[in-house]
Amino acid sequence: MTGHPSIGWILAACLAFAGLGFLSFFLSFGTVQGAEEVPAENKAVRDVYSQAVRPLLARYCFSCHGEKNPKGGLNLTSFPDRKESAIEPQTWKPVWERVKSRQMPPPGRPQPAAQERERLLSGIEDVFAQHTLDGHPDPGPLHPRRLNVREYRNSLRDLVVARSSQPRRLTYSLAAADGRIRFFDSQPEHVCAFVDRTLPQDTNDGGFDTIGENLSIPPFLMEKYLRCTKILLDEAFSANAKSGGDFAGPWQLRVRWERIQKGPLPKNATLREAVAGLLRELATSAFRRPVTRAEVEKYVQLFDLAQGKGEDFETSIRLPIQAILVSPRFVVLWGDPVVSAEGKATAPVRPLDSYELASRLSYFVWSSPADQELLRLAAQGKLNDPQVIEEQVRRMLKERRVRYGLMEGFVYQWLQLDKLERAAPDAERYAVYFQNNLGELMKRELILFTDTLTFEDRSILEFVDADWGFLCQPLAEHYEIANFPGKKLRDSEGPWYRWKFTDKQRGGVLTMGVVLTGTSQPLRTSPVARGKWILETILGTPPPPPPPDVDNVLKEEKQDNNLTVRQRMERHRANAACASCHRLIDPLGMALETFDPIGKWRDKDQGQPIDASGTLTDGVTFRGIAELKALLLSRKEDVVRSFVEHMLAYALGRKLEYYDAPTVTQITKAVVQDDCKFSRVVVEVARSYPFRQRRLKEVEK
């Protein structure tokens, strides 16, 4: 292969990427070759295109997206005329997305057979794979970003507080045979919860709070960092942390400085040297790479400064510790590459160095800094071995830190728990929801379920349907579960049980109260919100936002009062502008109509029997929750792919791009081959190409 794009390619790519600013990149990089020359590898792709892709386009797409009056301005016939156009990833992306989500071809038009669709999609994905940076696949940008609030909070915890005092990996422990939960610690307050109250909140635009673009540093943040670390040290120095006899309290850092303070110091060591040693250890963990004696010197000088002013030991050691915990080397990720002078590097892509990789793993799985073992492996240069990565990820998944890492960070954000929690059922009509604290209990149900699924490393398809779950008496009553053994206690929900469901009415997240309630309006269900939630989380094909001129609120006119939700929806879809998307969204939501706005089973709506049937755009029909679950499971690859895409975006800290498609496909295959196990997804994401590489050359915006 030549490794250089031809001029024709460059022009095509420039046209396609003008908006992204690829122009400057190609001009600065490509060694321009003859216009007619077509690189051999691309020729192969072109052949695949003309043999496999184009005939399908001709059969199913050209009738609308032809030369005359192409719908949506998309003329697919023009592509092969300019041969280079066949590899414009940007142009192909919407085609690929629409075909994949079965929005295209539209209903009423001839539909490709399953294999044909598959062939079309993989043909387009081959095109995506052709996008390279000077012959290297593009791992995407990895710009420095600040730690998000969750990561800063977890990092402080791990640097200062002993691990033994953290909550366990599982939120509960199970009593033996009857499935009764012995101990359930649903929402312990994070030992560094003050961080959430002190720093400005992060957004999770783009799905996750790890999206680097969102994590800028506002001018007043330094003041907040100092305030946070002051609270932290106040806590560590408070009388309370002192008490506790030989249980030295959770504040391990305090234990260490007290050892220095009380002595005896190690042989031949001065107080200053001992302090320097402590600070160097702390800085190495906080800065995520070994810190030299010289680098730590200026921090030690802060200690000297206070000592010189006659301060006591505690006041003096607070200064350098506080400085380390607000240093840019701590609060900014990816800003400290060991390869110095990156600006002058010539390769467009480089592998992460060992310490970057250690941090990337630990911030992915734990949302906190690498531990001793990861740092040791990094020092030995072993972390780049895919086998070692797999071992490490499996070890990390068993750790306590996963709870505020991958669980809170990935699982809850993927399921949009923050939005679901905003449910506001009508207080009068659904008084029972408030009286029994159902909102909180439903959230716990989800936490217990996701905890177990990930801890037992079960199939991620169980998110869609499982024959087990967790219940307590008020929930069991709400869900109308017969023979539930638990009893409600006077001021609590009573014991929880791991419960085996005998039918498809419950099981999996779709039928959980928190999802059904969180996607409802105060007084009625919303098939739109429910359908949208399924499309976004489970299927990974979010519907496009409504056009700007559409009044997004259903008109609830007076005479409409007796309409069922289905009738409302149908009226709404009578409008062609709405119908094009809502025929994708609504049917999925309609299948959940047998659940009322607080997730209780119902057979009637407005006194009329419920019709929970729907037809998807490709003509597949289904009725009710059981068939919806079966339908989703029959599209196993789509469900897995969606999960993989979400986790990859979370791990990479950016929205996915077309050049990530090959990675996603590769991981999806591996996951399906391993029975869709949760851990397989995490392992494969951690071993993936973009996770372990860094783009150096900037594609200017």
């Binding site: 970003r145 540093i217 330094m222 100092l226 942390a241 609060v331 905003r422 506001a424």
Partner: protein
């Protein structure tokens, strides 16, 4: 268990009130003169005190009349001694609660954000009224504004303070009385050390930046800007620190174990801040607005005698926290009302302290406006309705509010934002709208 640990970790001050009740006024006169105020004319002060969890309407409402004939409702009855200073405003409605309900209501309480414009958590937060006022009336004094909170538990930022800088960006609030004291009377040593820390980390940032490609330097630039911002701030506060008289403060040994002590301390500090003209705008949440059952304060922790409810309330409810009661409102109504009355008694304490301090031609209360209320409650229990929330003003604001000592009824549905807009206008800030306002209130001045 968790709660006790939370509280006891903090070193709280005790008895500031007793040690600082000194004649500050004379000491502060020069600084006021410096700020360009006529020596005779006392400046306007405004405090916003937030009543947590909403007030139960049947007992809060029902005040009638004016002047000597002003009859106070049961909940407001503790205010009898200061009733001539009150403006009881009925009929006002709060802003939309954030998703998750009233426990996040404090976030949007004073917000200027337009309707429906929310932060990442769906709460309509934004620059708050106190901050808009502070920009004008605190000009020239040491602290632009003072944010305090007696709610130091839980993670929900929308329930812990009422001052916000922008959507999603809390100003936060100080919960530690000692910090507030240091903030008012300066901390030169602390400033020196903070500056030393900034020197070290600024050097780190510059070194990192030099090692990065151009496109990767942006975040480090932002970091450095943040360092400079704080440096400027420290410099500014250091300039006049020598001129400030610091009250002698007996270092407290014991910490307040319960809310009554805690609120009293915070109230003393607030009055002290106004008295010494450290700031002219303050906000304070008086207790915990939370649904976290184990955290909600119980009768005993507020020092409310359980015996008085014998026969009126079923025994099992006597251990309910404030919040739990409000979601089981019918059988617990007398308890909710007792909680509400307790908070009103804290208000009485603040008002009486303000009135006990002579200033210029009147008392400190005469020159202040104390806004007291909440963003939920009203009618529509259970569920903490938005309509007809608790709201009252106290003090004459240096003549801005001439006819105090009466109850005023507004048409149902009048937004609280209309009151905020009116306060801005009274303070001389020209605005046509604020938050979800529909106009200003005509019957206040």
């Amino acid at each position: 268990m968790t709660r006790r640990r939370q509280i006891s970790r903090r070193t709280l001050l005790q008895g500031i009130g007793a040690t600082v009740a000194l004649p500050w006024l004379e000491a502060m006169e020069p600084s006021r003169a410096k700020a360009g105020m006529a020596a005779q004319k006392s400046p306007l002060r405004i405090a916003f005190l937030y009543h947590p969890i909403g007030a139960e309407a049947t007992a809060w409402k029902g005040s009638t009349g004016a002047g000597q004939q002003l009859q106070l409702s049961p909940t407001l009855s503790p205010l009898e001694p200061v009733k001539d200073a009150l403006l009881i405003l009925d009929g006002l409605s709060g802003r939309q609660h954030p998703p998750g309900g009233h426990m996040g209501a404090a976030g949007p309480y004073l917000s200027s954000s337009s309707p429906g414009k929310t932060d990442a958590w769906g709460a309509e937060t934004g620059l708050t009224l106190d901050q808009v006022l502070a920009a004008r009336i605190s000009a020239g004094v040491r602290l632009r504004s003072l944010e305090m909170s007696c709610n130091n538990i839980g993670r929900n930022m929308h329930s812990r303070f009422i001052s916000w800088r922008a959507p999603g960006v809390p100003l936060g609030a100080e919960t530690d009385p000692r910090e507030i004291f240091a903030c008012m009377f300066g901390d030169p040593k602390g400033d020196f050390y903070r500056r030393s820390i900034l020197d070290v980390v600024g050097e780190d940032a510059r070194r990192l930046k030099a090692n990065l490609g151009r496109a990767d330097q942006g975040r480090l630039d932002e970091y450095l800007e943040s360092v400079r911002t704080l440096e400027r701030q420290i410099e500014g506060s250091g300039r006049d620190s020598g001129k400030r008289p610091a009250p002698q403060l007996a270092v407290p040994e014991k910490q307040p174990q319960d809310l009554p002590e805690y609120v009293k301390l915070m109230a003393d500090l607030l009055v002290l801040a106004f008295q010494t003209d450290q700031t002219r705008v303050a906000t304070c949440i008086l207790g915990d607005e939370t649904n976290e059952g184990t955290y909600a304060r119980r009768l005993a922790q507020l020092g409310i005698d359980k015996e008085q409810f014998a026969g009126k309330v079923e025994a099992k409810y006597l251990d309910f926290g404030h919040h739990s009661c409000t979601h089981d409102p019918v059988p617990t109504r007398p308890l909710i009302q007792a909680y509400d009355r307790w908070y009103v008694q804290r208000l009485l304490y603040v008002l009486e302290r303000l009135r006990s301090i002579r200033e210029g031609d009147g008392t400190l209360l005469d020159h202040s406006v104390v806004v007291y209320g909440c963003a939920s409650g009203g009618t529509g229990w259970p569920g903490h309705g938005l309509k007809d929330v608790a709201c009252l003003l106290a003090g004459k604001g240096g003549g801005l509010l001439k006819r105090t000592g009466r109850q005023v009824q507004f048409p149902p549905g009048t937004p609280l934002s209309n009151l905020w807009l009116t306060l801005l206008q009274l303070a001389g800030i020209e605005r046509k709208e604020f938050g979800v306002s529909t106009g200003s209130l005509s019957d206040l001045g």
